[in-house]
């Protein structure tokens, strides 16, 4: 139901994102999904990697002075067609939930499906909602197999 995500604090300066991805890349980390949230002063980078790469990636980041944390997010599949996402969001809205952030995988989980990573105001409630409405969520094993 929930999958693990690494979030990293980045200062806003030229080359900051390149430096971080270089560090991870040289360590053999394969990013399955990536999002960049930026404000005037700083950015938050969110990354999904396969479960065996989480600890090495976090250790490498911390050893190089980055602030990194592992947290849990929901990964849901929506049909890869117009209004696919909209239908999901309508459901979420009706349930009184809000999306704090959202991004998508760099590759499809299955043909015809788009895999989205979502952070809700109430993760448990969102998970139940998806279950009741037969919306497919990906498990950590699903992600590892991508």
């Amino acid at each position: 139901m929930f999958i693990k995500q690494i979030s990293v604090f980045l200062e806003n300066h030229p080359g900051a994102l390149r430096e971080m991805t270089e560090l991870l890349g040289k360590g053999g980390v394969d990013m399955l999904a990536l999002s960049v949230a930026d404000t005037q002063n700083f950015g938050i980078i969110r990354i999904i990697v396969s479960s065996d790469q989480i600890d090495p990636a976090v250790e490498a980041l911390r050893a190089n002075g980055y602030i990194a944390k592992v947290n849990h997010v929901i990964c849901a599949e929506v049909p890869d067609r117009p209004l696919g996402l909209c239908e999901l969001l309508a459901l979420v809205e009706k349930a009184g939930l809000s999306v704090e952030y959202m991004y998508s995988f760099l590759r499809a989980s299955r043909p015809g499906e788009a895999a989205l990573i979502l952070r809700f105001s109430n993760g448990e409630k969102a998970a139940k909602l998806f279950q009741m409405n037969s919306i497919k969520t990906l498990s950590q094993e699903d992600v590892d197999g991508m």
């Binding site: 979030s7 604090f9 949230a37 404000t39 002063n41 700083f42 938050i44 002075g65 980055y66 704090e100």
Partner: protein, 440 residues
């Protein structure tokens, strides 16, 4: 005799009512001012210049009219010009070498040595010392007041004194072990070093030593250091405060409640002032600590500015003493900033930033003047505690810190969260302030 009573050397004074104390302080102040005016031309001229006559000082409430004394006075009037007693009555000189220029000295009459010894006897008693204890004095015995102060106090109590003086760690440990030292007097940094060496040697203080408490002072230290020393040496570690200009160690001391240092207020008056304006501040407000001696005869000091920043409280202590307490020294007035007319100490900002682990992240204060108005930016290195995966989480942390700074310091600031290790480190003392205002 109850446990509490045994731990108070002079209950009649240490547990005196605040009203009685203030009356006593007032009477002694009047006498001291008269003595100073009559015997010290330097201070007489200063009082005359301020338009204050000895008869204007009628009690404690008139203290605020007296001019201040400064460390520079001790240099300028070195060696004897501040003495208020004839040289034949001075039986001791103590002093400090001073890191720059002339040394400073203080002269003690027999009365002054007696007063100082009593203050140190109270100090040691508050840490649990009795005449059955063995006191190892590891402060330097010499011009520096630490060694003689501790020696005299322990001697007055009738404890067994080992006057080791400083240095030679191996010999310190041998004597400590062979003689069964129970009370240790030294600087907190040396106590830490002794503790580490003892542990490295495989000595278990709980089994192999008889130490029970220590009186540590002569340099600022922290609660984290206290915890470390107490663990390393298996003792109670008490903070003490003193300065040569006023007497020496024992001006203020911690009891085993370890909740601020009791000031020997029957011998000194402590004030907290605004370092910029010189006005007295109420208890609880941070400011510069100022001492007036009221029993010394050799070299009395009236309103001596320590330049140390702390707060005072006269809340009754659980130990039963009514003597007011001073908190730890949190900084020096030399570090103080005046921003939009408000006194700001970096230590205040630091207190806001201290995390759950008791450690403050690295920070930098950047002060500037934009459109003739001062600005304060507080750059704080983000810690894992503060970080979350959403922008709103970090924004909330930033807003929280901004609000706390506003409530503690009283001015608005711009808080910027920066990446770890992005604020330049300096060798030695951390540089906390960049002032771009070019006011000098």
């Amino acid at each position: 005799m109850s446990q509490t009573e045994r731990r108070i050397y002079n209950p009649a004074v240490e547990c005196i009512s605040r009203d009685e104390l203030h009356k006593l302080q007032g009477e002694r102040l009047v006498k001291t001012v008269k003595r100073e005016y009559e015997n010290v031309p330097v201070y007489r001229a200063r009082m005359d210049a301020a338009g204050v006559k000895p008869e204007d000082i009628r009690g404690l409430e008139d203290l605020k009219y007296l001019p201040f004394m400064e460390k520079t006075d001790l240099r300028d009037y070195y060696p004897f010009q501040l003495f208020a007693s004839p040289k034949k009555d001075i039986i001791r000189i103590q002093g400090s070498s001073g890191t720059t220029g002339k040394p400073i000295v203080s002269g003690y009459t027999r009365n002054d040595i007696e007063v100082w010894s009593e203050m140190m006897a109270r100090t040691l008693t508050a840490a649990g010392c009795t005449d059955e204890d063995i006191v190892q004095v590891t402060y330097g015995l010499g011009l520096f007041t630490g060694g003689f102060g501790a020696y005299q106090g322990a001697d007055k109590l009738g404890a067994m004194v080992i006057p080791m003086s400083s240095g030679n760690t191996q010999r310190q440990i041998t004597m400590m072990k062979d003689l069964g030292t129970t009370i240790l007097c030294c600087t907190p940094s040396y106590a830490t070093y002794l503790g580490e060496t003892i542990r490295e040697m495989g000595i278990d203080p709980a089994k192999d030593l008889k130490l029970k408490a220590g009186c540590f002072g002569a340099e600022p230290w922290t609660e984290e250091m206290r915890v470390r020393i107490e663990q390393l040496l298996n003792i109670d570690a008490c903070d003490i405060y003193g300065l040569t200009e006023i007497a020496g160690p024992g001006v203020a001391f911690e009891c085993l409640e370890k909740h601020g240092m009791h000031i020997n207020e029957d011998h000194v008056i402590a004030e907290i002032i605004n370092p910029t304006t010189g006005e007295q501040l109420p208890y609880g407000m941070p400011g510069e600590l100022v001492f007036t001696t009221i029993t010394k005869t050799g070299m009395p000091m009236l309103r001596y500015r320590t330049h140390d920043i702390c707060t005072l409280t006269d809340d009754k202590c659980r130990c039963g003493r009514t003597l007011a307490r001073m908190g730890r020294i949190t900084g020096r007035t030399d570090d103080m900033l005046v921003i939009r007319g408000v006194n700001v100490f970096p230590s205040q900002i630091e207190s806001v930033l201290v995390g759950a682990d008791g450690v403050a992240p690295h920070y930098m204060l950047v002060v500037d003047r934009v459109n003739s108005s001062d600005t304060l930016e507080v750059q704080v290195e983000l810690t894992e505690d503060m970080f979350g995966d959403t922008v709103s989480h970090i924004e909330n942390v930033r807003k929280y810190i901004t609000g706390q700074i506003k409530s503690v310091v009283g001015i608005a600031s711009k808080v910027t969260l920066v990446a770890p290790k992005s604020i330049p480190r300096s060798e030695g003392k951390a540089k906390r302030v960049i002032d771009k205002r070019n006011l000098h």
